[in-house]
């Protein structure tokens, strides 16, 4: 099964990376003196630093391998995750939501829920986020070990423990600051380590047009086959893409998931915080030229019997995740292989560091300080942040071993996001834009939204009802079910929150100043020339998004 062999120079490059990230953690420790330094990187980052970290926190190697594999399976439709499934939400966060998040000086998303609604909504979201983060972190760790074992023949336990302990080392030393530093290094390693696959693929196959011409229509377009689900690789209708992915899942993740939003909180001022997701959106738009293009190259090569390219198989089933490692093995000589593997390792570890740094903040401020020790001092919270980092990594390792004994939990990752993030987006949207939404409306709407999403998932999983009730389509796919389930969970949470708010006690308007649109003075950009305003860059980002969609329609 082993696909890639490493030479001594490849090992040296990998070891340099490990030494480098640990060295950075050590170097930054002397600058980490307070809770604000540890949990929010001192709030002094530029929009470029925060923006690249914002993007990189989401750019795990599991995503790189998985999305390249998904492109092999579903075709170009996977690009929707990077374009309509990300850009509008990132721009919306920067333009409309960030002023409320950043100006209220909160340390976490649950912290906003406490100010806008009440303590119980904050604790509910804090606990659900902490559990989700550790679960995802453990599953990521398991996936990393599985990939390294499958493609490099590395020992399962050693690769998992070495990378987990390295992450624990540098996050414990300097918290979010070292997580952000290593995320940015990972960003450049991924571009330099993996973009060359696409370049060499284009050189081998002739041009981008020639690659697309070798694929069936169901695989090489973005929208033209979306009116009939049976005619596209993902078996999904355009309404499912727009409502489920483009609206609920995307906005739910990019505007409320603390893992990514935490990076914007580390920005030095409001303009930098608003520019964080907007700058990130440009790089997000470019990512398909690594992942999607590599997947399309893999399809084109495997359709050509003379190329000698064929995905690996496990027990008769095609291993789609093998597409990217096999392309690395095909094109990369010694040295470049080390760079490619380091890029994947960096992706895994930066994703892990992102999860752990978000977990330690939510645990320390939204669970420990909020419920267990309300009078804790700043130095005690700093200690708690470091201790919870160690505990978080240990729990992640436990989850990884759990995932090893039940490999099918890998399939639940996308579902986990639709349980937690999709309804939370309805709560946030209403809370930020409608002043009369009440604390009880928000709390019960969120509870029922999360439970309904979970029940819909259970109902389909155990055949309590037919999936077509959710997807409104005669052809079925897991991806389409995820999109539609997220939409319904959002709608249920939205409707119930509004309904309960009609009958329950509202917060006085004066308590909501700075937290809700309409009750907050908004003159953030008045002193800036137009070309320096976030809205200018947001408009360019949306125009580019439209152009890309039309280009590959």
């Amino acid at each position: 099964m082993q696909a890639i062999g490493l030479t001594i120079i490849d090992w040296i490059i990998i070891l340099i990376y490990f030494a480098f990230v640990l060295g950075i953690g050590w170097y930054l420790k002397k600058f980490t003196r307070s809770g604000e330094d540890f949990f929010l990187a001192g709030r002094k980052n530029s929009s470029w630093v925060a923006g690249l970290a914002f993007l990189s926190a989401n750019l795990g190697a599991l995503e790189l391998l998985g999305m390249t594999g998904n492109t092999f399976k579903y075709g170009m439709y996977v690009a929707h995750f990077y374009w309509i499934g990300a850009i509008p939400a990132m721009v919306f966060l920067g333009i409309y939501m960030m002023p409320f998040y950043y100006s209220s000086r909160i340390k976490s998303i649950p912290g906003y829920l406490k100010l806008r609604f009440d303590e119980k909504t904050r604790v509910l979201n804090g606990i659900s986020f902490a559990v989700m983060t550790l679960l995802v972190s453990g599953i990521n760790l398991y996936a990393m070990a599985l990939v390294l074992h499958t493609f490099l023949g590395w020992n399962w336990d050693v690769s998992m423990w070495v990378s987990a302990l390295t992450v624990m080392g540098y996050v414990t030393l300097s918290g979010l600051m070292s997580a952000i530093f290593t995320e940015i290094i990972q960003f450049f390693l991924i571009w330099f380590g993996l973009f060359l696959v696409s370049i060499l693929g284009i050189i081998e196959l002739g041009s981008l047009d020639q690659i697309l011409n070798r694929l069936p229509e169901s695989m090489n377009t973005l929208w033209s086959t979306s009116s009939d689900p049976s005619k596209n690789g993902m078996l999904v209708h355009w309404a499912g893409i727009v409502l489920g992915l483009g609206f609920v899942l995307s906005f739910g993740y990019w505007t409320t998931d603390f893992l990514v939003v935490q990076r914007a909180f580390s920005a030095k001022d409001l303009r930098a915080a608003r520019m964080t997701p907007i700058l990130a959106s440009f790089f997000k738009m470019a990512l398909p030229f690594i992942v999607i293009l590599a997947g399309l190259i893999a399809i084109a090569l495997s359709n050509d019997p003379g190329s000698g390219f064929k995905l690996l198989e496990d027990g008769g089933r095609v291993n789609y995740d093998s597409a990217l490692p096999l392309l690395i093995a095909r094109y990369y000589p010694s040295g470049l292989v080390g760079l490619g593997i380091t890029a994947l390792l960096a992706g895994f570890m930066a994703g892990q560091a992102g999860n752990i740094s978000a977990f330690n903040t939510v645990w320390t401020y939204d669970i420990y300080k909020s419920v267990l020790n309300k009078n804790a001092s700043d130095s005690h919270l700093l200690w708690m942040g470091r201790a919870s980092t160690v505990v978080g990594v240990i729990i992640s390792l436990g989850t990884a071993y759990w995932a090893k004994s039940f490999p099918s939990i890998m399939d639940y990752m996308q579902a986990i996001f639709s349980w937690v993030n999709a309804p939370l987006f309805a709560t946030m949207l209403l809370g930020m834009f409608v002043w009369w939404i009440t604390p009880n409306g928000a709390f019960w709407g969120l509870v029922v939204g999360m439970v309904s999403s979970f029940l819909m998932w259970l109902g389909v999983k155990f055949h309590w009802f037919n999936e077509s009730i959710i997807t409104m389509s005669s052809v079925q796919s897991d991806m389409a079910a995820n999109f539609w389930r997220a939409w319904w969970a959002w709608l249920i949470c939205f409707a119930l929150t509004v309904l309960i708010s009609f009958f329950t006690k509202k917060k006085p308007k004066e308590e909501l100043a700075g937290l809700v649109k309409g009750l907050t003075e908004e003159k953030h950009d008045a002193h800036l020339p137009f070309v320096k305003r976030p809205v200018f860059y947001a408009a360019i980002s949306i125009i580019l998004l439209i152009v890309l969609n039309l280009l590959f329609w």
């Binding site: 120079i9 040296i12 490059i13 340099i16 990376y17 480098f20 950075i24 170097y27 930054l28 600058f31 002094k44 630093v49 952000i180 530093f181 940015i184 290094i185 450049f188 390693l189 330099f192 060359l196 060499l200 050189i203 081998e204 093995a329 095909r330 094109y331 990369y332 000589p333 010694s334 040295g335 470049l336 080390g338 760079l339 380091t342």
Partner: protein, 66 residues
Amino acid sequence: MKPIWYFVGLIMIVIGSLIFLTGIYLLLNPPAEKTVLSEIHPNLWWGIIMVLFGGIMFLKTRKQIV
């Protein structure tokens, strides 16, 4: 403290140099088992691009403190 771009520059120079030097070695001692497109020597030009990129970042930030 040193800005992040300083560290990005540093690691790009180190890894880019190693890849470039490996490219020279492979040019002088071609391996028996060749990768696809090995005739265009990707190690050489990709290594140089990495060193140039890293060098610019490193030189522009080596005296900065943030």
